[in-house]
Each structure stands twice: as C-alpha cells, then as structure tokens.
Amino acid sequence: MNALVPNPALDAPHPLLEARGLVRRFGGLTAVGGIDLSISEGELLSVIGPNGAGKTTAFNLISGLDRPDEGSIRFNGIDITGKPPEAVHAAGLSRTFQHGRVFANLSVADNVLVGAHRRLRAVRPPWPVIGPLAELALALIRPPSVKAEEAALREEVREILSIFGERLLPRIDQPAYSLSYANRRRVEIARALASRPKLLLLDEPTAGMNQTETAEMLEIIADLKARGQTILLIEHKLDMVMRLSDRVIVLDDGKKIAEGAPLAVRNDPAVIEAYLGHGGVGAAAAAGPASGDSVRLLA
C-alpha cells in the first residue's frame, strides 16, 4: 500500500525489497524502532551499527524468522510481512546466520544441496494433496529424471564450492561439525548460493575470520556483486563495508541514523558519535580524514 509513495532516496523505480516502518519490541525494549529500508536489483546495501543496534533483529524480520509488531515488507512484488521463513525463501530470499547455522551432521555437499531444495523439480511434483506421497515414491523409485536432476545438482555443488578455492572442495564429504568456524561460514554462503536467490542476506560473513580470510571473503563478495547478485550485508569490519557497498545504512538503538554513499556515511558526525560516544566526537572530528580509520579500529 505504501509502495506508491515516492521515495527520493531510491535510484530505481521498483526496489526489489522494500521495508517500511519496521518495529519490533521485546517486552520493554524496542529492538527495532521504525526502520525503512529498500534495495534495488544488483545493489549491495550494507547495514552497520554498534552491537545491539537492531541489525540482526531487522534481518530476522525480513527473512521471516520473526514477525514485526508494526510495518510492512514487500519483496519482489509480494507482501511478505509476517510470512514464515519458507514463504520468504520461496519468494527468492536466502540468508546466512550471524552465529553460523550449518547442519552439523550433514556433509558439506549435503549442506549445500539442502540449499537447492526448492530447485528440485523432478522429485517434487507440485501436485496438491498427493504431492508429498509422490515425492516419497519418486525418491524411492528414482526414475531417470530424478537421477539426472540429482547428478546435475551435485555437479553444481562442486562449482559453487570452487569459488572458495581449495577451502571446501577437499572436505566435500566431511560432516560440517568437523569444519573450522570460518569454513562453516563459507558452507553457509555456498548453501545460500545454491538456492540462486534474488536477494542474498549475509549476516556478518567474516565474523571470526582472520585478515587473510577476511580479504578472501571480500574478493568473493565483490565477485558475486560483479555477477549481478543483489546483496544485503551486515558487517562490522567497516573497511570491507566501504569497499563493497553501493549504499550504507547505519543503525543505532533500533533507529536509522544515517544512509547514503559509503564515504558520506563514514564522515557523518552522527555515525561517529554512535560508534565513539559523545566524548569522542570532538577528537574524531579534529583528526579529520583519519577518523574513518579510528572508527574501524574501534568497531
């Protein structure tokens, strides 16, 4: 209903995702207090903010893990407000999780294959009522079409894993619980990519990674962006945000305090204050262009 209201902040006329006035309260605490957010196709939008700013809560509202108390979310032309995660995923949105939620006992390959679950066509006929039983029968009988589909997907899994170089391919049959933390984050991204999402939500993809690994992840995300993947990114490492983003939104205390191009946001006094507190404002401003670095160090 709000989609017709013109929003000067947008470049494209039809945003892929548009959230308006999102509010989520936990008891007395307002974790998200009226956030607007939109992202156009092909764009990379970063959401930053101090811990507890409401970034992950906003992500959960968008991806259907949690329902907003107020506000609306439209995605790809459909109203997904308060829809369950499977419906949001069906509309074309895939996400990773802040703390990493791989399927611990599944192999790397199976984890990624689960990401492609909705793309299974031959084995999941879209028939009403008897669909599930047909799926069971086809899984047991395995006609050639089902076998071919599975084989093609397994081939594709190797391709997806190859974007992480030799990090995951040699471990393709190992259970996910045996992987390092960084590798589990990579599996999560591979799983999300296997679904061929219209919009990819990445929740701190480099958390717990060292500098080399972070640089590698930056390359991978830049590569995805270059291929036209629309990405919504939560990230603490400002350096990475500055390099990758088309646009940055800064949250603090559940509210949006700044939005715009990376450089503009970086020098926004409100942002610096949010990160450094009141005492730091003068010092950061006095430091001039170097202030961005001090922000990064402290973040």
């Binding site: 959960n60 895939s94 084995v123 599930p132």
Partner: protein
Amino acid sequence: MTSWFDHTINGLIIGNIYALLAVGLALIFGVSRLINFAHGSVYVVGAYVGWVAVSVLETPFPVTLLIVVAFTGLLGIVIERFGIRPLADAPRIAPLLATIGLSFVLDQTVQILFSPDPRAVPMQVPNWRINIGGGSIGVLDLLIGGIGITAATALFAFLKLTKWGWAVRATALDRDAARAMGVDVDQVNRIVFAIASALGGVGGVLVGMYYNVITPTMGFEATLKGIVSEVVGGVGNVPGAIVGSLLLGLVESYGVALLGTSYRNLFAFVLLIAILVLRPNGLFASRRQLPPEPMTGTFVAPSKPVNLPVPLVAAAAAVAIALPLLIDSGYLIQTLTNAWLYALLGLSLTLVAGTSGQVSLGHAALLAIGGYTSALLASNLGWPVWLTLLIGGFAAAGIGTLLVSPAFRLRGHYVSIATLGIGEIVALVILNWESVTRGPIGVAGIPPLSLFGYDLYDTNAIYWFAFALMALLALLQLRLLSSHLGRTLRAVRDDDIAARSFGIGLNRYKGLAFAFGGFFAGISGAFTAHMYSFINHETFNTQISVLALTIAILGGMGNVGGAILGAVALIGLPEIFRVAAEYRILLYGIALLLLVRFRPQGLLGTV
C-alpha cells in the same frame, strides 16, 4: 448419586496431589530445563516408604510424613548427583532419557522388593465427615488441602525470602549468569531436587491413604499427570503448576462424573494435547517469544557411523537365514523372530527420532493401530492375512501421522510429551471403544499368518517370513536415506529454523517421516497380533515405546544396521540368558542410563 459439590471437592483434592507433583516438576524444569520422568517413581518410593513406616514401624502420622520427606529428599539428591549432573553438557534430551531410565530402575526395584500386588495403606486420621449442603468433606480431605496449602506457602517463603531461594530463582532465570555471580549452581540443583522429590514423596503417601491402595506401577501415571498439570500452567512456572493441577483435577473429576471412571485419563491427555497445540507455553504464558537459538531438541551425538562392509552384512544375513536349519531350538528361533519384529519397530523409531529428530515416546501406539486394524479385518471380515498386514501398515502410517500432526509445530521436549500423550490417548480409545475393539477383553482367536493361501504355523516359516519382511524394509529405508529425503530429514533434525529458511516445510517432511516409519511399526504390530493370536489394549504399552527408543539409541540414532543390532541385543540376549521378566525391565532401564551417559552415539554411530 454423588453431588456436584462432592465432585468439586474430589477434583480439588486430586488437584492438590497433582500440585505436589507438578510444583516439583516445575522447580526442576526451572533450574535444570529438564522434564523429570522419574518424578512419579519418587512418588511411588514415597508411598512405599510411607507404607513401611505405617505398617511395619507403626509410626504416627507426623513421623510418617517426616520419614517420607527425609527419604525421598535424599533420593532426589542422589538422582541429581548421579543421574542428571553428569549430563549437564549433553544435548537437552539426554537427561530426559536418563530420567526415563531412572524411572524404570526405581519402579522395578520397588516391584522386586514389594511384589507387584497392590497394598493398602492404613489411614492414620479419623474417618469423620462434615456434611455441607448436599455433600461432605472428610478429615483426610482437609488434611490434604492443608498440606498442599502449607507446602505452597513454605515454598513461596523459601523462594522469596531466603538466600537459597534467591539463588534458585536466579539460576532459573539464567544459569550461566548465576554461576558467574558466584551462585553454587550444583548446590541449587541439589536443593531443588531434594525439595521437589520430598513434595512428590508426600504426594505418594497422601494418595495411598486417599485411595487406600498403592502399586509399584502407579508412578508412570503420576508422572504424566504432573507433566500435564505443568504444561497447562506453563512449563517451569510454579504458581502456574498449582493452578494447572487444580484445573486438571477438576476437569478429570467432572469428566468422570459425566462419562465414567475409564475416561479419567482420556480427559487429562486430551487437555494436554489441546494446551500443547493451542497454547504451548501454558495458559499464563507471557507474550510471544523468539525460539531459543541454537536448537537442542535432538539427541544425535556427532560421530562417524561405523561402515559395515557389505560382505559382512551379507554373511550375517546368510547366517540368519540358515539358522533354523543349523540349530534345532524352537525357543531360540521364536526369540529371534521377536527380535526381527522389534527391529522393524526400531527401524521405524530410528527414522523418526534419529533421522528426523522427533523423539517419539508413543511409538507403541503405531503397533497397536497396525495390530488392531489387521486383527479386526482378518477376524471380522475374513480378509486374507497378507492383505490385512499391508492394510495394518498403511493404517498405522495414515492414522498415526494424522494423530501426531498437531505436534508437528512442537520441538524438543514438547514433541516427546505430545507423542507420549497421543500414545496414551490411542490406548484409552482402544480400551473404551468397545463396539469395535472389544474393549478390555481384547481380540482373541486372530487368524494365523498366511502367505499365498497357506497358513503359517511352523516356527521356522514364521521366522523366515519375519526376517524377509524386516530385511526388505531395512533395504527400503536405506534407499530412502540415500535419496534427497535423507538429507532433508536430517536437516530438519539438525536445525529446523535453517531448514525452513531454505524452503523445507516442516509439516510435510515430519509427516513423511512419521508415515514411512508408521508403516514399519504397523506391519510389526500386525505381524505380532497374528503370531500371538491375541491382543488387548495392554499388549503395546509405553514400556514398549521406551524399549524401542532404547533399541534406536543402542544401535545409533538414524542407523539402519544399528536398529537391527540393537533389537537383537536387547530382545535376543535377555531371552537367551533367560533373564526373569521383572529384571529385564530393570536391565532396559540400566541400559538406557548407561548408554545416554557413556555412549550416546550407540554401537554403530549416529547417521
């Protein structure tokens, strides 16, 4: 004609006894996040300690109470120390399974010491009744009410006013934070288990005096009633547990007044399922909350499954097939036939609980559905048994899945409670639906197994038939696990939120798992019915559900070969060594306890 006043008083008295149980369960859940299935067994121990005090030591009532409080309080401390604390870091379902094992051990010990026969507990208070309006209140009624109110007040004062009470509440709110602030969490747990168990023990004595009868088997029902009360009031909510108990007591009492005694438990379990489905956080739940993260509803220890080499499996199968020709022992062959049928049940549960993570405690109900369907179709309509076996399997799959479907939205402990309740409901429907199931008399003279028009009476023929069915279905399950459904079900088990985020609808896949598993269990139940030619509502009881779970855990959750090995080990070995029946249950309890503690991945590893 008893008046409504009497029913109300009766309901409140029973509710008071439930409250003694439910408050303990709520306290324990508060600090340990554990539903204590051994709680009813402590209540049984309390009842028998009370009986010894009154009948043997001839103590006066207050001394009896003191002895019971001391004994069961101590028992609570022992349970906490040796049963629960070692599992603090295990998946949350592990201590729950341990308490089931403990309840088997305690119940069976009481039964071995005191015989299974009911005993009367002499009432130690005068039998005066005060007439009020159309009804009357007895001294014992007032006493039970008084003890309930006193206990609640004392507990309230303890929690609100004492230092250890604060520590208990702090631990319930956030165990780690409490520990970090210097609260001795182990001591808190000890205190809570002691208080809860003492309250449960007192409940046992009082109920013994109220009904004037105690049996070693009454603990299971007490546990269930306590859990129902706790769920109604909101799990872990102490005042809620009291209200829930009184409500349950009243609902049961009025229900009995309307329909008769055999419906008492049906009301309790229907209330349980209704609350779980409509208000899973209880009647007094606060606002909707986010599901906790990460999920710990499953009992699947990370492990590499043992890869059985194909030649070894083939050799084992060949030995199993040739066995009747090699050994001339009808007894051994019958025992192994039984093991194959339990293997079918184990396969069913290892898929549902192991592969899909839905730890069902009502699996025997699927056997019952299959058994009754096949038995009734064959005896009433004269259909050929091979056909009714199949129909029995499909009936268990269809009806079972339909019955469990309200529980698909639940997770972790709640799935176990709901399936337990649904299993009880099935047993009670079988008991009460006399026009179809022949009620408590059971179905006798069930036609024998037959194949291609030939009746199978020969022990060896039945053995081969059972083995062939089991082997065939095991292969089918392996095929399922290697398909996309295998990984999908395991994904649901490992992290249902992440699975949903990738478009996996939980209803659909939990439903498929229950349907596939239900078919196996239904065939097993039907086979059993025709083999024994008699079944009644007690043939497939909760002990069998727990045994099935022990088989699945022993073999390794989700492990097909493991389920077969587990069945042979748990059914075959005690039979071969001729362990007496009452010790066998004890053995199962101990096996479950040791497995959960020392080898949660089972013999062949989880898949």
